[in-house]
Amino acid sequence: MTAAASDRTANALHPVRTGLLRAAHADAEALLARADREAASLVEQARSDARALVAEARRQGEADGADSARDLLVRARREARSRTLGARREAYGRLRREAAERVGGLCATEGYAALRERLEQRARALLGPGAEVTGHADGGVVARTPGRRVDLSLTELADRALDRMGGEVRRLWEP
């Protein structure tokens, strides 16, 4: 083939080449545009998913946190309540011990003989004149008949008096 023929052929194909190139450019641009759009959409979707995930994680975290906070609060309340009750029990125990000690001190007072006399009378009234009445080591008396016993020791009487106080004991911890 001569050079002239070759030029003619090239000239004849020029529009085709131009057209093909234009079409290829257009396709490429469209492809790029679509790719850009898809990328943007994907990025947006990913961002949206990430936001949703973060929101969900935050919600779960808040819920877990609220649960933990509630558990902590319940435990703290239980502990506080337990300490309060423990302190009250201790105060009540001390009251009983002190009452027993103080009432024991009556033995050394002048009026103890008269008191003991009254307790003996009370014991005989309950168990009969034949009751065997003996002194108690802590003060007061204990009376016995076969099968029966009356404890009028000072510590026992103090215990019963405290039992009868009922709600008044609350003044130990209430204003």
Binding site: R70, V74, R77, R78, R81, S82, T84, L85, G86, R88, R89, A91, Y92, G93, L126, L127, R144, P146, G147, R148, R149, V150, D151, L152, R160, R164, G166, G167, V169, R170
Partner: protein, 493 residues
């Protein structure tokens, strides 16, 4: 000091099991409370089971282990057990005879009361009214608990009745009015007692709970005292201090068994299934202590929980309980097997006083209508399910298939609830509406047209239905319940 003036009896003729036979006594009566002192100075307590001439049979609450008959002294109190009453009980955890388990001092009260109590004089009773909202949707919506009512939970072993009882005790409220709960656990295993304590910790810490825990290994006579102490404390919190008090008693079957054991020890003639003949009147003497009293504030509402041995509702305990109480909440093994909590069998459950505590001016205007429609539709759904078991779902009419969807929505969305989820009445009724709207409007004949319009009830789509006769065509509306994976179902997950 006791009526006997402090006389202690020292002749213990025999110790047999938990029983001590004390001789030489006089003027002793049944049920007298006894203080027992050992030679070591240790104190125990007992109750007179039987008294004959100069002998008294005393059941020792702490047991007779380690007791030497030689050194034992028994002081009779002259009457049944009395307990201090008042607000000191709130926030306390005690054993079945009212002694502290929480490390605190004994419970004090400005006065005390006999635990046997006395049922409310009928002519002074105020009819129950106003609801106690339990925060359990299916109970509040369908079997509303009314202040002053006694509404038992009938269950069988293995069902979560204790969870339900604890949930009700933890969540119940009375619309902002002063309210508290007395929970009496009877015959509980230690694991159950621990569960109850944890579940109710918040309410206990808030000073709105009295918790009495009698465990399975505690003496049976203590189990007989536990509900009586609970009710005595509740009565005073209600009628003296003006609170609305909910008393939850679980499990009353173990109480009845304790009664049977004590009755046998007393040598009484046994009646049905060896329970004593007075089981009915004994249960009534507990249940009838609830109510409201004219001219006094407060109310006592009782929710006893009982397990039916072998699921037998004709067993003496549920049978006699059913005569006394005002309805029942029945738990169903079938519903439990479907994974629904609480497994309430709505069609077997009933609150006879619901109309006094629910509806216009009390809960919500549409409450009673919705409840009635839910139950009616559920009854039809159950018939349809039986039919579907015979002929298959495909052979059902489109409307019938909607009933199956309704039942699923009822169970999954309306009834099912977490055991730590307090559900408000509004939310429960809205879920009820959602379940009902799975049905065509024409099937909701118990609801007024205005309400149906307001909730967007749709007429049945005949074309759609006709299409579906030949096969499971997909409905146009994605919200339609024709889809087995309907949004209602998803919402409940």
């Amino acid at each position: 000091m006791s009526r006997s003036g402090g006389i202690e009896y020292t002749t213990v003729r025999e110790l047999r099991g938990p029983l001590a036979i004390v001789a030489g006594v006089s003027g002793i009566g049944w049920d007298e409370y006894v203080r027992i002192t050992l030679a070591s100075g240790e104190r125990r307590h007992g109750v007179v089971l039987d008294a004959d001439r100069d002998l008294a049979v005393v059941q020792v609450l702490e047991g007779t282990a380690g007791m030497d008959p030689e050194g034992v002294r028994a002081a009779f109190s002259g009457g049944p057990l009395r307990v201090p009453v008042g607000t000191d009980w709130l926030g306390r955890v005690c054993n079945g005879r009212g002694e502290p388990l929480d490390g605190g001092p004994p419970v004090f009260g400005s006065r005390d009361a006999e635990v046997g109590g006395a049922p409310i004089n009928p002519v002074r009773r105020e009819p129950p009214s106003e609801p106690v909202l339990t925060g359990v949707g299916v109970v509040d919506a369908l079997t509303t608990l009314v202040r002053g009512q006694k509404l038992p939970v009938f269950s069988v072993a293995g069902l979560p009745h204790l969870e339900l009882a604890a949930q009700i005790a933890a969540q119940a409220t009375t619309a902002g009015e002063a309210f508290c709960v007395v929970f009496a656990g009877m015959g509980l295993t230690h694991a159950d007692a621990s569960f109850v304590r944890d579940a109710l910790e918040e309410r206990s810490a808030a000073g709105e709970l009295v918790l009495l825990l009698n465990t399975a290994d505690d003496p049976v006579i203590e189990r007989i005292l536990t509900p009586r102490i609970a009710l005595t404390v509740a009565e005073h919190l209600a009628f003296t201090d003006g609170r609305h008090v909910l008393v939850v008693m679980a499990d009353m079957t173990t109480y009845a068994e304790a009664l049977r054991e004590v009755s046998a020890a007393r040598g009484e003639v046994p009646a049905r299934r060896a329970y004593p003949g007075y089981l009915y009147s004994d249960l009534a003497s507990l249940y009838e202590r609830c109510g409201r009293v004219r001219g006094r504030p407060g109310s006592v509402t009782v929710v006893p929980v009982l397990t039916m041995p072998a699921g037998d509702i004709t067993h003496p305990v549920p049978d006699l309980t059913g005569y006394i109480t005002e309805g029942q909440i029945v738990l169903s093994p079938e519903t439990h097997a479907r994974g629904v909590y609480p497994p309430v069998d709505a069609l077997s459950s009933l609150s006879r006083l619901m109309r006094k505590g629910a509806g216009p001016g009390r809960t919500r205007d549409d409450h009673l209508d919705v409840a009635a429609q839910l139950l009616a539709s559920l009854a039809r759904a159950r018939q349809v399910r039986d039919l579907a078991d015979l002929v298959g779902r495909a052979a059902l009419s489109p409307t019938d298939r909607r009933y199956l969807d309704f039942e699923e929505a009822f169970l999954r969305d309306f009834a099912d609830q977490r055991d730590d989820e307090p559900r408000g009445l509004d939310a429960s009724l809205e879920r009820g509406w959602r379940a009902l709207l799975t049905l065509p409007r024409g099937q909701l004949s118990m609801l007024p047209a205005g309400l149906l319009d307001a909730h967007g009830a749709r007429e049945s789509d005949d074309h759609e239905d006709a299409d579906e006769v030949g096969g499971p065509g997909r409905p146009e509306d994605p919200d339609s319940p024709e889809d087995p994976d309907s949004p209602e179902e998803e919402a409940s997950r």
